[in-house]
Symmetry: C2
Subunit: 175 residues, 2 copies
């Protein structure tokens, strides 16, 4: 299973592709960040993020997409851009019929490090270890995107299958 993890953000949107299955070794396929500059209007910045995500979906053909779940109580100064980028990520995946799962930061920390309150450094170190990398991926957004993809693989996509089944049932009802 090949998963694209997305750590949404307006200034830096982390992207990471990991391949693997439960109980089998994980492989890093690609990692990077889409950056946008604050001197552009928001619609143009959001469009650049969408284009970046589209490019990765096109090039790496993941089987599923895992996006960080954003909460309204998060940092107020960046929350709007983060929410908007996460919406674009979800729709880009949904448009291709790909399952999309949302994982909270604590779920991701718990999955990769065994501690839901792990700090950025611990998460980065575990991601590097799990993917057998000699260095921690930088910036933190890139490491977080990989951690999201790993979490998704380890959770076995069960959440996806449930949500897709619900969606299918709901679509059937509304017909």
């Amino acid at each position: 299973m090949r998963v694209l993890g997305i750590d949404p953000g307006l200034t830096r949107c982390g992207l990471g592709i990991v391949e693997g299955d439960i109980g089998r070794p994980l492989t890093l396929i690609a990692v990077g960040v889409v950056r946008t500059t604050p001197d552009l209007p928001i619609p143009q910045r959001l469009m650049q993020i969408e284009q970046g995500i589209e490019l990765w979906l096109e090039e790496h053909r993941p089987d599923a997409v895992a996006v960080e779940r954003v909460f309204a109580r998060s940092d107020v100064s960046t929350i709007m851009g983060t929410a908007q980028a996460s919406g674009l990520a979800m729709v880009a995946a949904a448009r291709r019929g790909l399952p999309v799962a949302l994982h909270t930061p604590s779920e991701v920390k718990a999955a990769v490090s065994g501690n839901g309150r792990a700090d950025k450094a611990q998460v980065g170190a575990m991601v590097a270890r799990l993917l057998r990398l000699t260095e921690v991926p930088k910036p933190a957004d890139a490491a977080d995107a990989l951690a999201l993809a790993i979490t998704h693989i380890w959770r076995g996509g069960a959440q996806n299958r449930i949500e897709m089944a619900i969606a299918k049932a709901a679509a059937g009802r509304s017909r």
Copy 2:
């Protein structure tokens, strides 16, 4: 000038098309709401909103798009969906090269009613009067979308032209 006003929301996204120019009568072209049901997963709901907006852009070919500016201090229970829908609206317009302007709720209230603290009923009544309608458009999201389009026409798209010039200059610099 033909403007699509969008009042973003996950459950109800208001859309309204108004044609007119500063100092000339306004004409209602179309008004409606894209609704999504909470029993679908968020990615599917956001995709339906995007498809609704795309359909309106395709069918009504507006010259500009006006979206309500969402603030992080707004209602926490709906803020994430509202932010995500507003991001999709902005990107749908930007993808077509259309100017996008954001107007705050107080700017819209002040523009259509002369009072930045006008209530929903006052805004609806003024929208109906300005567009010579016999009834106030319902639901409130539809009336708000029309109020956004009217605000945009009356502001003469000046904000747009400034933002587009900045974007162009910035794009030139980064080349």
